[in-house]
Amino acid sequence: MSVGKRFPKVDGASKADGSGIYADDISLPRMLHAKILRSPHANARIRRIDPSPALQVPGVVATLIGAEMPEKYGVIPWTHDEQALATDHVRFVGDEVACVAALDERTAEEALKLIEVEYEVLPAILTPEDALAHPEIKVNERAKVGNITKQVQLEFGPVDEALASAATIARQTYFYAGSTHTPIEPHCAVARVDADGNLTVWSSTQIPHYLQRELSRVLGLPQAKVRVIQPLLGGAFGGKSDPFSLEFCVAKLALKTGRPVKILFTREEVFYAHRGRHPMKMDVTVALDREGRISAVDNKILIDGGAYASFGLVTAYYAGQLLTGPYRFGTYRFDSKRMYTNKPPCGPKRGHGSVQPRFAFEVALDEAAEKLGIDPIEVRRRNFIGEFVETVNGQKITSNGFLKCLELVEEASGWRTRHGKLGPGRGLGVAGSMYITGTAYPVYPNEMPQSGVLVKLDRSGRVAIFSGASDIGQGVNTLLCQIAAEELGCDPRDVTIVAADTDLTPVDLGAYSSRVTFMVGLAAREACLKLAEKLRVAGGANFTEACQRAEAIEGAPLAAAGGYRTQKLGGDYRGGTIGASPAYSFTAHVAEVEVDEETGIWKVSKIWAAHDCGKALNPTLVEGQIEGSVYMGAAEAQMEEMVYDQRGLLFGPSLLDYRIPTSLDTPDLESFIVESNDPGGPYGAKEAGEGPLHPAIPAIANALHDACGIRIRELPFYPQRILKLLRERRDKERAA
C-alpha cells in the first residue's frame, strides 16, 4: 500500500544534495550565451533596426532580429499574436527586439547596446479603461474590435427578475491588482542542433508539448525534428506555461551558429515575461432572498490583459465560469472583457482567472449576509450546492466535501466563540471556493489522449515509467512511483521516472489548470493495471520473480501504456465547455488578523485552510500544496502588486522592490485535508495545487471587517488603504 502514504519525494535527495539539474545547470561544449535587447518604449513602431555594429564586438558570434523568424505564436491556437523578436511593433517596455550570442554573457550584454533601433514612439495605452476609450490606438493588431482580446457575455436564468424580488442586495466595485508568479528560478533555455539537424531545447517550461509545437511552427522545422526536454524546474505557478522568446531565440541561434546556445533571464526579464495575475475591476451584485439564499449574482468584469493574449481567451471565460460553486446560484450573469494594454502580458497565475472574482464575490456575500443578520459561515452552509449536481451554468459537480471543510475551519478557529468577539483590532473572516481539476479539453482540438504514460518492467525488478508530465515541484513524479508501487506491488524506490522529454515520453499537455494528478494519475493507473494483471497470472514469490515469469510468458519485454482520454463535458452553449472539468475541488478558509488602528499596519496571524482534494495520494505533498497556495493568496492580499509609471515602466522589477513575503511575513498556516473520494479520479483524487489559494484573500478581507468594521475592496490591502478606511469609518461614526 503506497497510495495515501507520506512517501518522501523521489527526487528529494537530488534536490537536497544540490546535484539535481535545472536548466541553468546545463553547460555544453562550445556553448554560447545570448542576451535579448528590449524595447524602452511602451508602444512604438520599429522604423529601422541594424544589429551589425554588435557583430563587430570581439567575442560576439551572431545576432538575431525578428525578420529572421517573423512567424507569430501563442499558447492558444486561436490567438497567435506574439513574435519572439518584434519585426515592426513593440508593445510594452521590455518587449523583445533583438538578440546577440557571444562567448560570454557580459560580452553579449555590452554588444546589445550597439544595436541600432529607430523607433517611432506612439501613445501608450496603460489602463483597460483607456483601451476602451481609444480604439483608434491599436495595442495589438489581432484585436478585431478596438483593443478587446475577448469579451464573454453569458446569462443563466432571469437575473433582473431575481434582483427585483431580492430581500437584500450587495452591489459594489472591487479592484484586484496584478501580481506575478515570482518563481525563484529565472527562465532559462539551452538549445543544441546535432549534425543531423535535430534540434533539442532544454527549457524551464511547464508545457514541453505545446512548446515543441510552437518551436516547430515558428522555426519551420518538422515536429519530429524538435525535441523539448524539461529539466528540474525551480518553481512555475503558471509563469512558465507559455512559449517564451528565449526558447525561440536559443533555438534559432543554435541553428544559425551550429553551436549550443543558452539564455538565462535576469530577474528583471522574468518580470517582463510576466503572464501573472490579471488586474480586474469587478462590479459585483449579489442578491439574497429572505432565507439568505443566493438568488442572483451579476458581475461586470474589466480585465487588464497587457500586450499579448497568452491564455487571455480562457481568462475571459474563467473569470465568469468558475464562480458557480460551492454555492447554488438562483440566477447568474457575467460580462467579462479582456483588454490589450501596453504592459507585460498577463496570463495564468495559480488559480487562473477565478481568484479575482472569488475575492469580490465572497466579500459581497459577507456583506449581504450581514444585512440579513446571518452568520458568515451559516450563509455559506445554507447555500451549499451539494454533490453530484449541475451548476447554474451547466458544470457537473461530482464529489463535494465543502461542508466538511467549513466545519473543520469553523471548529479549529474557534469561530463560534471568537468571531465578532475578539475585541478591537482583531477579527476572523471566512471564505470558500471551488476550482477545476483540469480543463476538460486540450488547447488545440484533437481526439488523442491528453495524457499518456508508458510503464516498462525489467527482469531485474526495476520499473521504468515514461511520462510526459512536468514535475514543477508539485511532485507528480513521486505520485507516479506511488501508483506503480500500489498497483504492481513493487518498492516505490525501485521505479525510474523518465519525464517531460518529447522524444522519449508520451505526450502530456502540461502542468496547468490543476490537471496533472487527475489525468496523469488515471493514465498511469491504467498502464499499471494492465501489467499487474500479467504479474498476477505469472505469480511468483516476490516482485522480481513475478516480472521474470511474466516476461517469460509474454515472450517479449513487459510494457504497457495508459492514457487519459477527453470526456465530453460542459454546458450546451457557446463557451459552455470552458470551465468544464471532470471534477472540482473545494476549499474553506478562516483567517485571523490583527490591525494597528493608528497606522493601518496589519498582519494575518493565522489561516486555517481545509481543502477537499478527493483523496490525498500523498498527504505530505497535498499539505505542501495547500500551504503554498494559502501563502501565495495571503501574499497577494498583503503586499504584491505590479506597479507601473506613466510611461508603462514597471516599478522595481526586482525581488527587493516587488516584495514577496519572507518567513517573518507569512502567517501561521494550519492545513486540513478533506477526502471526498471522487468516483472519477485516480483512487478518488482531485486537485490540490490551485484551489486552496482562492479563499485566502476574501477570508482576510472579511477578517479585517470583523476586526475593525471596514470593507476593503481593493488589493493589495496596503496599510495606507486600511488607514483611510478607518478614518472614513470614524468620520461616519462621528457624523452619526
Binding site: 497510495v3 507520506r6 518522501p8 528529494g12 535527495a13 534536490k15 537536497a16 544534495d17 544540490g18 546535484s19 535545472y22 545547470d25 560570454d104 557580459r106 508568479h181 525563484i184 528560478e185 528540474l232 525551480g234 518553481g235 512555475a236 505557478f237 535576469t266 530577474r267 464529489s399 466535501g401 466538511k404 498497483e487 504492481l488 506491488g489 498476477r536 514469490a541 516476490n542 516482485f543 483523496k615 498527504p619 505530505t620 505533498l621 499539505e623 505542501g624 500551504e627 503554498g628 501563502y631 526586482s654 525581488l655 527587493l656 514577496i660 519572507t662 518567513s663 517573518l664 498556516l669 486540513f672 485535508i673 478533506v674 477526502e675 471526498s676 473520494n677 468516483p679 483512487y683 478518488g684
Partner: protein, 191 residues
Amino acid sequence: MRKTELIKLFVNGEEHSLAVPVQRTLLEALRYDLGLIGSKQGCDKGDCGACTVLARPRQGSGRGEPILSCITLAADAQDLAVTTIEGLAGPQGLDVVQRAFVDCGALQCGFCQPGMMLSARALLDNCPKPSLPQIKEALSGNLCRCTGYSQIYQAVQVAAGMRKPSARAPVQAERAAPSDSVAHPVKEIVP
C-alpha cells in the same frame, strides 16, 4: 579579450586555482568554473538568498556563517573557507538537515532550498534547539515561493531532533474510500 586573473578558492575543504574574469562573482565561480551547481541564482543581487553559502576565514574553524555568493567577488573570497550544499553531505550520506527537508516535504521545486538548508545548518550549528521564532528569523533571508515555509520549519525541528517528520494532523475522510482503490490482487506478490 576580457581581463582575467588567477585566484585561489577554498571550497568544501579543497583548494582550487582558477583563471577567471576579474569581475567574477563567487556564485559564478562556484557554478560555472567549479561545477558546484547546487548554489542557485535567483535574483542577481542579494535579495533572495538562493546563492547562500557558508563562509569563515580560512584559519578559522567550523562551517562559518551564511553569506550571499552572488554579491561576493570571487577575488575577494580567497581568504575564506566556503561550504556549499555539495559540502554538507558526508560519507554517511545526507546531513540531518538535508534528510529532514526531504522527509518533511520542504523541498517542492527545490530551487531555493540549497540556500535555505545552509541557513538552517548554520542556525543549528549555533543553536541546536531553536525556538520557532528563532527559526523564522534565521531563515528570513531565504525566499521560498513554494511551501509557505511551514514544512521548512518542521524540517528544521526534525533536524534538531525536536519532532518526528510525520507528526501531522490525520486526514479527514468525508466518505469511505471507493472499493476499487482498496485492495488489488497484485498485492499478493509483495514479499
